[in-house]
Subunit: 243 residues, 2 copies
Amino acid sequence: MTYCVGMLLDKGLVMAADTRTNAGVDNVGKFKKLYTWEFPGDRVFVLLTAGNLAVTQAVVSILSEQINDPPDRGLTLKKCSTMFQAAHVLGDAVREVRKADGDYLTSNGESFAVSFIFGGQIGKERPRLFNIYAAGNFIEATPDTPFFQIGEHKYGKPILDRVARSEMELGEAAKMVLLSFDSTLRSNLSVGLPIDLLTYETDTLKVEHTKRIGPDDPYFKMLSTEWSKALRTAFANIEALDI
Amino acid sequence: MTYCVGMLLDKGLVMAADTRTNAGVDNVGKFKKLYTWEFPGDRVFVLLTAGNLAVTQAVVSILSEQINDPPDRGLTLKKCSTMFQAAHVLGDAVREVRKADGDYLTSNGESFAVSFIFGGQIGKERPRLFNIYAAGNFIEATPDTPFFQIGEHKYGKPILDRVARSEMELGEAAKMVLLSFDSTLRSNLSVGLPIDLLTYETDTLKVEHTKRIGPDDPYFKMLSTEWSKALRTAFANIEALDI
């Protein structure tokens, strides 16, 4: 399983993914699920992936290879002029992998289950954030719901539902996203540390702040401990039901 | 969808179920999913149901009818002498419904998806709590994991994972269970108020405390508001990530 969150803020993007993969509880691995493409001063893309690892890795390889070897109609992450076009480039790559591998997966009883959170900024366009489906189509985040989750999303959703707002500072949003991971990690073994966290500040057009958060990360440890303590205190301070 | 929680405490049981049923978002109904059988001074049973409503209602009807019209081998909720036997009576009722309806459901493309939380106390035996599956088999709660959830369980699990302990007072456990519902209600529209809540005190051998909690319930409103406030304060009090 996997847990990824992407959040679109007025001030930028916060993107995070865990690194655990598993095909059964006795086949657990560590794979990166956060990818970036950076053309400093021009454009930045961040991709979070969930689902069939062979498919998501193939999509990432296609996107990377295309940059130097564009497909016939010529649109690549490097050449597209809006994030909407970039999301289409990604969707097309998903469809290309399905065309190549889909039938083989089906005949092997496996599903083409993948999903992506894709954010970034191109030139003077504002940063944008998309949730791309296995069919290659997608939706875009808006201020009403400024975040997307993929993978094991339920345990970590309540904190986002309560706290997420487009106006948050990047550091506050990163704190919220990490708390959402903390709840997920506690309740589902198939989501595991380390977490890859990226914060992107609007108009910098470069990848400046990435962080791999392992079990010994002092901030994450503090966050986890303080949150537990605060929840227990909050719980204790509310009057019990009078039976 | 449905959300039900049952908790086994040293001091008794806390059992709660929502009342929303839906077959698609445009076909939403209100049905009770918490049932009790009470033989004051002798035994008390509480059942929470999730899944195919036709199946769960059939199971409940069988259990009730058997009491006055016992099946051949004679074991009913009224006559069994332990909660383990009572769980078997329930499992047998599930299997009886599958035998009668299972093939018809399958040929109609529907699944025999049901699950139950079943708690109670018989005579001098301590209260016990079971999670009964669609196959009619079951597991029993222990102090290590003193609660069961069925239905839409993920949103409300983090609070239980953090706070649930067998030693809690009934009123504290009821508060925790209602907070678990609060998180679920916020994140999933298919779980809805009112909530049926039952608290059972060990050795009373009667159903004394049941409560239907609707949107105007003052305790639930207070709980929901105070918890939101406390979470936001707790969140604000933790240092943001320094980027």
